[in-house]
């Protein structure tokens, strides 16, 4: 990718800053090494631990206004998806092109219902896909990481098949993942991010904790003002 351009007098901008920064008596404040230490839960989890984390995730997620399903096998997965299609009266859904979703053969499940499922990319050109994406009633994504303590999905769009649009535009969001994706909280996320990306982060990473909300009118909590109003987490057993 071509480098961008800097506008404005860089030299002057920074020399003002450098001139004004003074070293206080005792020296400048040192960098905080390991800033997360002791603030967040920090552990390696076993399969058993992650089953407990699932309970915690579900508790947080439902408190936030989401719905969660605990799923043992493919039959239950199909049931859950059909229930959501029914509940939301879905006609059109789109999903990420993700190897894990591919394994679940969602198209098969949808073929049995009133709703259609399109996989990203919907079209090649902006002017074509934007209209299609805007008409979608649900988006299905794979949650690469999920944080139990806050009920948060972590969605790095690390390949072109996993665009933010799918979880941004539709009023219903369905996130699928297994218990293997569950971590306690930020410590687990940062560890995985360091391993996977270093400082070369994906174009977008979204942390989603529940449905879109606002309290801008009279401080009354209202759900779904811009983002998803209905959010579902489908958590499969990792076995």
């Amino acid at each position: 990718m071509a480098n961008g351009i800097v506008t404005g007098n860089r030299e002057a901008f920074f020399s003002t800053i450098r001139q004004n920064i003074k070293t206080p008596p005792g020296g400048k404040a040192p960098r905080v090494e390991n800033p997360m230490d002791g603030l967040f839960t920090q552990r390696e989890t076993t399969v058993e631990d992650r089953r407990e984390l699932r309970e915690r995730f579900i508790q947080e997620w439902t408190t936030l206004g989401g719905k969660a399903f605990n799923i043992k096998d493919r039959v239950e997965l199909a049931q859950a998806i059909k229930q959501i299609i029914q509940e939301r009266q879905l006609q059109k859904a789109m999903c990420w092109d993700h190897p894990e979703l591919e394994k679940l053969k969602l198209e098969e499940i949808f073929s049995d219902t009133q709703a259609s499922l399109s996989r990203w990319p919907l079209e090649k050109n902006y002017s074509d896909w934007i209209g299609k994406a805007a008409s979608m009633e649900a988006g299905i994504v794979w949650s690469d990481i999920a944080m139990a303590e806050t009920g948060t999905l972590v969605l790095p769009s690390s390949s072109p098949g996993q665009p933010t649009t799918v979880c941004v535009l539709p009023i219903t969001l369905i996130a699928i993942f297994t218990t293997a994706q569950l971590v306690d909280g930020f410590t687990g996320v940062v560890k995985l991010f360091k391993e996977r990306y270093g400082t070369n982060l994906p174009t977008t990473t979204t942390f989603i904790s529940g449905p879109s909300r606002t309290t801008d009118i009279e401080m009354v909590l209202t759900i779904g003002v811009h983002g998803s109003r209905y959010v579902y987490a489908l958590i499969l057993d990792e076995a």
């Binding site: 961008g4 800033p35 072109p160 933010t164 649009t165 941004v168 174009t203 879109s212």
Partner: protein, 473 residues
Amino acid sequence: MHIEPSFHKRYHKALRDTAMLKAVKNGTGRLRGQRATAIEGVGADRWMEFRNRAEAIRLHVIQHLDQYLEQLVDNVIKNGGHVCLAKTGEEAVQYIAELAKKKNAKTILKSKSMVSEEIHLNPALEQQGCNVIESDLGEWIIQLAGETPSHIIAPAMHKNRFQVADLFNAVSEEKVSTEIADLCGFARKYLREKFLGIDIGITGCNFALADSGAITLCTNEGNARIISTLAPTLVTIMGMERILPGLEELTVMLSLLARSATGQKLTVYNTLSTGVRNPEELDGPQEFHLVIVDNGRSKQLGTKYEKILNCIRCGSCLNACPVYRNIGGHAYGWVYPGPIGAVLSPLYQGMDKYGELAYATTLCGACTFACPVKIPLHDMLYALRNDKVELEKTGGLVEDMTYKGWSAAFASMSRYRFSIGMARRFQFPLVKAEKIAYGPPPISDWLKHRDMPALPKKFFHEIWREMKNDGKE
């Protein structure tokens, strides 16, 4: 909206607006309660640890601001984004206005950016024919009302549902009811159409990460990420202090920000974006511009007010402040209200214009206690008062003599007793209902805004002495 130049007039106007005051009391009360519950959940000790850590992180960043900003700039351009280094608000506005012209932009959607309010970006873009739309619900409401935000995180806190319905009905073809759910539903529908026709998106910046060049956007509504996903050209405006070394520091700040602002464990949507999309990607911006704004910030470095740059704009100090809770945000006059505004406005905009705000405090310290990054706000307000006095030496001869006389009278016990005796004797024509109601200047000025109790016939210590003497007899 016309803004009175004098703080005195502004707060008097606010005190008459009972609907606004009620809404602000209700809003701040709720936010305070939610924050308290969230802290309880974390535990007081761990919360303190969080604050200590956050303070240390911010202190380090600000004292090494040049290094981190240089790193950020290098990474953003490496990621394919452009950077504008704006020393003044005008430079930032000019850059964005030129970009809008170059792109022939008609529809510009914004997510909340206090810096853009600070530099008066919207009017400049509107002047050249752009349709600029605020997409945060609260910001949109006040945009329709032609007002400025009254709270950092709840900009339309002062409006009730009936006022909002009137504003919406002015732009809606169909009648919108006063039900809050309907009002939000209308906003979703109306703004969704605008999102789909977006030419340029403009966002604020909660935190930039130096080591990756990523920008973090935090919204509960999801408007910022719709913009950063759909806008072909994305502009992010950041105050130059809104920077962190990397992801680890960010996790600490996000945990504090949400809890301090609204009592949530995390904001619903935290989006990290490195700007320009990869060639194979279909969504995300094709062009990204990061506008880094100084506009008075670098002047605070190395001064006793340096720590004000640690602020993460959570709004917690507003909710804690008894003055803010009783006058609302508009009385502060500039874009930042409450204790943080009372410090920032005079520092960024000048003592002559906003120096009076140093008195918009009871110096109770509630703001300092509420601040997640431990900015000593009330100490700064006190220091600003001193600066103001120093700067103006306002009183001139009369005030000078009054204070000199005062200090002479109080320095010795006999002179003190004598003065009190005289004052008691001569106060009677000025007293009404046990208060001093009249007086010559400068006392008359002082009495306009404050009650001064009349001197009692006897002080407590005099009664005490008499009682003790009685006992002896």
